[in-house]
Amino acid sequence: MPEVVSYTYRAELTKDAQLRFISHLDYAALVERAICRAKLPVVYSEGFNPHMKLSFASALALGVTSESEYMEFILSKDLCQPEVFDKLSSQLPDGVRLKALKKIEGKHKALMALADEARYRISFSTANPLSEWETAVSEFNNAESCFFQRKTPKKTRDIEIKQYMIGQLEIEANDGLIELSASVKITQQGSVKPAEILEYLRKSSGSEYDISNVEIRRTALLCGGRNLMDVM
């Protein structure tokens, strides 16, 4: 058997507003098709039903946009970075932008297992005064624990939010909108969704926000505080 040489590439991509209602699986499929169209020499799995070897870091909740999606794919040829970058970029649909690409040398951990922190920015409009939201945020920051009822179609359970928070929840007013910045832990046992933090604040403060105008963006996905592009 000749030894199969392969080259792993890691990419940093966006998922913008027009694609935020595409599920994680469908997002992966659209990237896969873009790679096909780009005619990159990708490596497929062996077997009866070969598929592209493609892996992603942490999945994104439906409705959330992102500046920091990460994926890895494997090529059978050692192509130079600009060539792969340009070919792939030209085939990505509106709403996905290739921000960075790099060939990964040597041993490295699975991308899936790397991310341990996610940062989000939540912006919304509200009729309540900023001060009410500021009070709610500072109460949240000072509290030992905050419980939230998570409802899924299957069951309802209480989760404690504070255990997942890294640092302080920040709030600022910007152009008539309120912006929250949160940094949360991603653990094997789970995490908290940014929308849940917002819901918690709404309930605890008795304030309301305009549900048709909420935007949540993942601004970073990190490992030990470093961008996933820089961690092996």
């Binding site: 027009q18 694609l19 439906l62």
Partner: protein
């Protein structure tokens, strides 16, 4: 421009149905074009996006500089609720423009059970559902697709119909429109419709007034205007190689019913099954050349990134050089992991070998359509398949490792006896036994899916009275009683739906009131089992004083004039009558594809020829 806020999208299932902007979707500037055409299927996104005809027309229209074709599908119940409660009108998926701002809305009518969804979509767009009520500022509503061979039940809701293949006729219509528009829309919409009626293949129902005698029997049509053609023959493409077609299919963001490239090998099927309307409607057979097919496959893979191509046709295995084509395609794409599938398998071992070579996924099983349980019955319907053929084909499949087989049948066919019905259970049993004999094992699953026969316009059985509900139910139970083996799984269709289809498929214009009432009573998505509610239709018939049995159950006289005969595929009535007589006599008619002409009259009437590369070579 319509804006759908994120809270709406957050609350409905599959929000990507409503957000558009897919790869290969076409975007133009609204002001830059003179004809705005919304192409639609009265069904959900996943179904509408899978329709080959609409994909073809999307490209043909968008290749014109003066036209922008956009898409719109029926919002599912949850989205409709959101839209109605917030007064959001139906909009197009490209420019998010309200549908009532378009020049045309074209509906592809695939089956009768979509009719109420058409009305619902018009209503959601704020467009008058009755054509006669539409003003000069409203779009022209045009219908196409297989239902045009009897559109009378919905004729009052449409401004025009396109009969037959639209690749050439639709651009001609657009030209007439642009001309009329450039002249400043003289004399309003009536003038345009008059001009449109002169385009071959266009039917403008308001120019035809149905006549009935004192007993209420249909006697014919009175045409309005001097040059209104009394009969509209279908349009047909002679040369499938040179006609403009799909080359850049849209790649959806979510999974759809046919989420793959459709490569249309040929159009038409001349096997001559006597129950089958498509077999008449798409005649004669016209193949594409292998080189054109390979060229199209290459183009479409390159611009989509799909990894699967379906070799589409009414009966793909009949393509004259299928074996060679498959070998060459597999070769062309050997480095790219492109898979190929055959949507319909012929009942022979050639098809099995091919399916095996193409590595069709085994878990989904194989599907065959013997249609009837006994040889006698199969001779009546001219299904040229014997029991031996079926056992040979399934035997070949079992040897290659398949364990599940699905068999399609119909009940309620002309001359059917209980013996024929029981024959369905018996044939399934024979397939099960054959598996045990071939493999020595018992782990087989044979599913029989039994539908209730609906007689259709322009078939040999267009005179036949459909079975009653009681008769269908009795036959469904009869099959059940005769299934003795646990390996046989039995599905049967809801006879209520088939009986309603039976009414609409051979109905006349008086049914428009019934369809309107059914929609008012809440009907839409009638083709979806979980949405269909029989009682809405029962009430609709009562409200309009119409006895459905007059349309479906009644056996029709050979000299009766039919309300659908003016929009025709060109088949001769004498041929159909002769076929019915031959059916009763259990006598077969041969396939004209490679043999002699059997006299259906379509080639002569329309001035077209069969194109079959196997026949050329022979």
């Amino acid at each position: 421009m319509v804006r759908i806020t994120s809270d709406i999208l957050q609350s409905v299932v599959k929000p990507a149905r409503y957000t558009g902007n897919e790869w290969n979707s076409v975007h133009k500037k609204w002001e830059d074009v003179s004809c705005h055409f919304a192409l639609s299927m009265p069904d959900v996104y996943e179904v509408g996006m899978s329709n080959l005809g609409l994909k073809i027309l999307y490209e043909i229209l968008n290749n014109r500089e003066d036209t922008w074709a956009e898409r719109v599908y029926a919002p599912w119940i949850d989205m409709e609720e959101e839209m109605r409660s917030r007064n959001i009108p139906l909009y197009s998926l490209e420019s998010f423009t309200e549908l009532n701002k378009f020049d045309f809305i074209g509906f592809s009518l695939q089956f009768e059970m979509c009719f109420t969804t058409v009305l619902n979509m018009l209503d959601l767009s704020g467009i008058n559902v009755w054509a006669k009520d539409r003003g000069d500022d409203e779009p022209f509503i045009i219908g196409g697709g297989p239902c045009v061979y009897n559109v009378e039940p919905v004729a009052d809701f449409f401004d025009l119909f396109l009969i037959g293949e639209a690749e050439e006729a639709l651009p001609e219509l657009v030209e007439v429109f642009c001309e009329w528009k450039k002249e400043g829309r003289p004399n309003g919409r009536g003038e345009f419709l008059k001009r449109a009626a002169r385009v071959r293949g266009i039917y403008v129902p308001s120019l035809y007034v149905p006549q009935y005698d004192e007993k209420g029997m249909y006697t014919g049509l009175q045409t309005i205007g001097e040059d209104t053609p009394p009969v509209i023959y279908k349009r047909i493409i002679q040369d499938m190689d040179s006609v403009a077609t799909m080359e850049r299919p849209i790649v959806p963001y979510i999974d759809i019913v046919h989420n793959r490239i459709m490569l249309e090998l040929f159009r038409g099927c001349s096997r001559g099954c006597r129950f089958c309307q498509a077999g008449v409607a798409y005649r004669p057979v016209r193949e594409r050349t292998e080189s054109r097919l390979r060229e199209l496959a290459r183009k479409m893979i390159d611009v989509t990134g799909y990894d699967e191509i379906s070799l589409t046709s009414l009966s793909s295995a009949d393509y004259s050089c299928l074996g060679g084509l498959v070998d060459n395609l597999m070769n062309d794409f050997s480095c790219e992991k492109v898979g190929f599938t055959l949507p319909s398998l012929r009942i022979d071992s050639f098809s099995i070998d091919l399916a095996d070579k193409m590595q069709q996924i085994r878990k989904s099983g194989l599907t065959f359509a013997p249609e009837a349980g006994t040889q006698r019955m199969r001779d009546v319907i001219n299904k040229g398949v014997t029991e031996e053929d079926l056992l040979k084909a399934t035997g070949a499949a079992f040897k290659k490792g398949w364990k599940t087989v699905k068999l399609y049948f119909m009940i309620g066919l002309p001359t059917e006896t209980d013996e024929d019905v029981i024959g369905i259970a018996e044939l399934a049993q024979k397939v099960v036994n054959h598996y045990k004999e071939t493999t020595g094992r018992k782990d087989v699953k044979v599913t029989i899916s039994v539908s209730c026969f609906v007689p259709k316009a322009f078939t040999a059985f267009q005179w036949f009275g459909q079975n009653t509900l009681e008769e269908f139910s009795r036959k469904q139970m009869l099959i059940k009683e005769h299934i003795k083996d646990r390996s046989i799984h039995y599905n049967y269709h809801d006879a209520h739906v088939s009986l309603l289809e039976g009414v609409l498929a051979r109905g006349d214009r008086r049914l428009s009131g019934v369809i309107y009432s059914a929609w008012k009573n809440g009907s839409r998505f009638d083709g979806w089992t979980d949405q269909f509610d029989e009682s809405r239709w029962t009430r609709a018939f009562e409200e309009n004083n119409i006895d459905p049995a007059q349309y479906n159950i009644r056996e029709r006289a050979f000299d009766e004039v039919f309300p659908w005969e003016h929009t025709t595929p060109g088949v001769s009535r004498a041929f159909l009558k002769h076929e019915y007589e031959k059916a009763v006599a259990e006598s077969l008619t041969k396939d004209c594809r490679r043999g002699d002409c059997t006299g259906c009259g379509i080639c002569q009437k329309l001035g077209v020829n069969i194109v079959d590369w196997g026949k050329e070579r022979a």
